[in-house]
Amino acid sequence: MAENTITKGGSYLLEEHSLEDVFTPEDFTEEHKMIGKTTEDFAFDQVQPVLEEIENHNFDHTVKLLKQAGELGLLGADVPEAYGGLGLDKISSTLITEKIAVARSFALSHGAHVGIGSLPIVFFGNKEQKEKYLPGLASGEKLAAYALTEPGSGSDALGAKTVAKLSDDGKYYLLSGEKQWITNSAFADVFVVYAKVDGEKFTAFIVEKDFPGVSTGPEEKKMGIKGSSTRTLILDEAKVPVENVLGEVGKGHKIAFNILNIGRYKLGVGCVGSSKRAIEISAKYANERNQFKTPIAKFPLIQEKLATMAAKTYALESAIYRTGGFFEKGLSHLDDAEGAEAANAIAEYALECSITKVFGSEVLSHVVDEGVQIHGGYGFMQEYEIENMYRDARINRIFEGTNEINRLLIPATLMRKTMKGELPFMEKASGLQEELLMMMPTLSDEEPAPLEKEAELIDHAKKIFLMTAGLAVEKYQMELEKQQEILRDLADIAIEIFAMESAYLRTKKAMEKDGQEKAQAKIDLTTAYVYEAFPRIEKAAKHTLSSMEEGDTLRTQLSILKKLTRFDPINEVSLKRAIAKRVLEAERFVV
């Protein structure tokens, strides 16, 4: 793939992306669909029947099912063919992650194995390490886990206390410390562990469970995802051969942060699958449940919930596959890449990874919450799937970097890329003030073309971001990182823009291909999402501007904001009823 077709991470805030550069679910190949179906059938037919036993910590099922998944090829998508995997494109591996999500706790075991467990070796292992470990990981013969968090270092990952000391004969590192909340720890054969060599140099190691000095603690009792194994990994002078250093000594943070990036993206992907499932079971329930001799699906307040759930899910799905498309272009030619190259390719989209993580987990939170509400009292009962999903969803806003940390990272990443000269943020921001002062609102009596108004709102949202972020940088400069509330507001605006725009571009692409009539469901979902998200952008901008300025300056800025946020409301009632009708007829998320 030519270098010039690669989209720059974060560039969506500063420019318009062309439709050809946006991957959408409508671009799936037949193979993609078949891979999705095999994954879905496996999750429903093989995993769901034993899920309850898995939730009771019968991990024999998990291990057996992971091996079965390996036979089907569901563990090898990201592993190159040369090392026993399938070396599939990133859209295929995204689809696997999405479709396996309905297997709940098991999906987490699967994700920890193929994602944060195996990928450090895929991207950063040397030839010998790849040859030794990847074939087993791809087949499911060996299972992987990732050990970064410690009791005293969660979000502050580099504050790890686990130390590594070179043995006197120079052949081993002796690792000592405790890693906490390690997914898959009950049955993992291989752990990617971070420790500081001589207490200073943060380094990644491949640690086998049978190395002397390696053990695990008791199972944790958790609020949700009860069927994933979560234990402490105890390292007591664990003897790790020097050839098991992953990457370079002292460069562990490169691996840790980039694997986290991928992990964040994959977390968002899982949220697509779970959100769709919650919509499906809630729509079915609404059709079946009668109150006042009427299926509750006939009540507009239930319909409105389903419509909002669907619109958010549409925006999320669009954002996810758009990002998947970026990765496919950025990573596909790196089949046997050197670690540094892979790290750069992943880091390019760090901002999008944080967005998909935060947005995905919060869409899912909303969707399962309303799902429970639609189920009424039954939604509070454990035998109903939605009750499980509600509890399982909560962790998504916490792990892989809390949503707060990820929000701070979004403007920080943008600034870093600006400083490095990778994005023309400053050029775009300066001069904007003047343009905005001169700007006259476009008022037209003509009925706008479908999505014309939405496109304008997205354009205005980008201007709002540039204006607000530009002012914040100007005012606080290097001190900006201390203004967490402002950074949060900027992140919220950036997230909403990415979500709105991804939905918009996807729908636009579908309209060009199939015509307006066939894309009507997508148009409705996009419209519903944009009109819901836009006021949130206005609110965040107002909040930030009011905290930075006062008096006349503030009044001028607020008047600019007012120009940018002026729009006529639409009939959201009829729009959402139309969306809900489709969801209720199909009893699933449909576009």
Binding site: E31, M34, I35, D41, F42, L72, G73, L74
Partner: protein, 256 residues
């Protein structure tokens, strides 16, 4: 062993049927291999793995039906043949059996498998008709199949009992639920299927005359079954209940 499987692409069994302008609408519908044909595909792959040889999957249908063949090939079938049905007007089981027979006439085969019926039309005719045209024996609705040399032994459910039948190759058998548990197309299988040969034929390629293929039956009307209405629970004394029931059967349901 040369194994042929005849299959049909049908609506996913979870799809809702909607009628537009007197016809079943396939707008936005998910298609699958007819579930009974899927048993046939699985059985064919197992036979091939046991006895060697090749599995060829054959379908008559529109372009989209190619996907069903690709799925069968992703499961493990070796090659596919699709006959374009665009020139077929008012095709019915008679026409399809004729087309399949013409395709198969040019092929070498030891055994032909298919589902015992398709879940859409549900006629269960194409298998037996095809066997008649090819002048080979057929056994329908089998639940077990053993091939040893040219000896064939099958089991089938008969009114809750099992019947065992012996026959000889070449033969056509149709699959009933219980024959096996079809495998999922594995990811390596899916990637390989892309490269397997798929032959596209139309009626002209088969030296068939379109007029000869016109169906023997005609669809006069397509309609959905009436919506199920809420049931009624009769209350009161037994005698009154019986009286009310008789009244309802006579006046409302009009069945007596």
């Amino acid at each position: 062993m040369n194994i042929l499987v005849c299959l049909k692409q049908t609506f996913d069994t979870e799809e809702r049927i909607t009628i537009e302008d007197g016809q079943i609408s396939d707008d936005g519908v998910e298609f699958v291999i007819n579930p009974y044909d899927e048993y046939a595909v699985e059985e064919a792959i197992r036979l091939r793995d046991e006895h060697g040889g090749e599995v060829t999957v054959i379908t008559v249908g529109p372009d989209r039906a190619e996907q069903a063949l690709r799925t069968a090939m992703a499961m493990g079938a070796d090659k596919g043949i699709i006959v374009d049905d665009e020139d077929l007007e008012d095709a019915d089981e008679y026409s399809i059996a004729k087309v399949l027979a013409a395709v198969i006439d040019d092929l070498e085969y030891d055994i032909i498998l298919g589902g015992y019926m398709a879940v859409d039309d549900g006629s269960a005719q194409v298998g037996p008709r095809l066997a008649e045209l090819l002048e080979i024996p057929h056994i329908s609705t089998i639940t077990k199949l053993t091939v040893d040399g040219d000896k064939v032994e099958v089991e089938k459910d008969v009114e809750g009992d099992t019947e065992t039948i012996e026959s000889k190759l070449p033969i056509l058998v149709t699959a009933q639920q219980g024959l096996n548990e079809p495998r999922y197309p594995s990811l390596p299988g899916i990637m390989k299927a892309k490269k397997k040969p798929l032959e596209q034929l139309d009626i002209d390629d088969l030296d068939l005359d379109e007029d000869e293929l016109e169906g023997k039956t005609k669809v006069l009307e397509t309609f959905l079954p009436p919506e199920k209405e809420a049931g009624k629970i009769l209350e009161g004394e037994l005698e009154d209940q019986v009286k009310e029931l008789v009244g309802l059967l006579r006046n409302e349901a009009k069945v007596i």
